[in-house]
């Protein structure tokens, strides 16, 4: 039952994040979506993933709140009627996920732990992704730094 409520919350907050006009409210709805997803993972017995989702979501949202407040112009506020309509649309959209079922859960093939899977089976992926993240971070810093130099 708790998974169904969380999935409904996930869809409703996703709808609100897309359809709300004001950037800060939209980011707040995205925060709700990240939180619901994190709880969904936690209740599906994927605690590590829930923690990762929570950490990644918190970082993204902190930057998004700042950029949403600084960069976007203030549009006209969404009316109560529109807000209600978006929420109802979200509830309707979440019904198929709750009541329909197209996939069957297959039987688990192996019972390896998270640490074994990450470091014994996907170690190369982890190292390569570390390099990718470092490269992206450096690239972003260089691009922003060049832009600042160009301004001078």
């Amino acid at each position: 039952m708790i998974l169904e409520i969380l999935s409904a919350g996930l869809i409703i907050s996703a709808c609100l994040a897309i359809f709300l006009d004001e950037a800060v409210y939209s980011v707040a709805a995205l925060a709700g979506m990240f939180f619901s997803t994190s709880l969904l993972y936690a209740f599906s017995d994927a605690i590590f993933v829930a923690v990762f989702q929570f950490a990644v979501g918190a970082g993204t949202l902190a930057i998004l709140f700042l950029s949403g407040e600084m960069l976007s112009q203030k549009p006209a506020k969404t009316s109560q009627r529109n807000l209600l309509l978006i929420t109802v649309a979200g509830i309707i959209l979440s019904l198929p996920a709750i009541f329909l079922s197209i996939s069957e859960m297959p039987v688990a093939l192996s019972g390896i732990s998270f640490g074994e899977a990450l470091w014994d089976m996907r170690a190369v992926d982890v190292v390569l992704q570390g390099f990718v993240i470092m490269t992206v971070a450096l690239g972003v810093v260089i691009v922003l730094h060049e832009k600042r130099k160009g301004e001078k």
Binding site: L3, S7, I11, V49, L64, L93, S101, I112, A117, L118
Partner: protein
């Protein structure tokens, strides 16, 4: 409850936002929805691959998602600093106007020669 249908619905909402919204911040939110829909699919892998491997794939997917977020946010900041707007429609108009001005200058210089 079915994670495949849930991720399909999220994907549909994200694609709709990507196609209809003109603000770069909304585009970013749509990309986040699509990334969440993709990572939700890995939950389906957990029973078939084993819990550990499914979670490992999910964590790897998160790092890719974080890279995408970083690049989009950098683009958002640069575009807003350079053009003073984050509306895609305005950016396209500005670029068209700029091209028209350049064409006009080239035409004038050709007439003078």
């Amino acid at each position: 409850m079915d994670f495949v249908i849930l991720s399909l619905i999220l994907l549909a909402i994200g694609i709709y936002g990507l196609l209809t919204k003109r603000d770069l911040l909304k585009v970013f939110v749509s990309v986040e929805l699509i990334a969440t829909a993709a990572t939700l699919n890995f939950v389906m892998l957990v029973p078939s691959l084993g819990k550990g491997l499914g979670e490992a794939f999910l964590v790897l997917a998160f790092s890719t998602d974080t890279c995408v977020s970083g690049v989009i946010l950098a683009l958002l900041v640069i575009v807003h600093k350079r053009y003073g707007t984050s509306d895609i429609g305005d950016l396209v108009k500005m670029e068209q106007e700029k091209e028209e001005v350049v064409e006009e200058i080239v035409r004038e210089s050709e007439v003078e020669h």
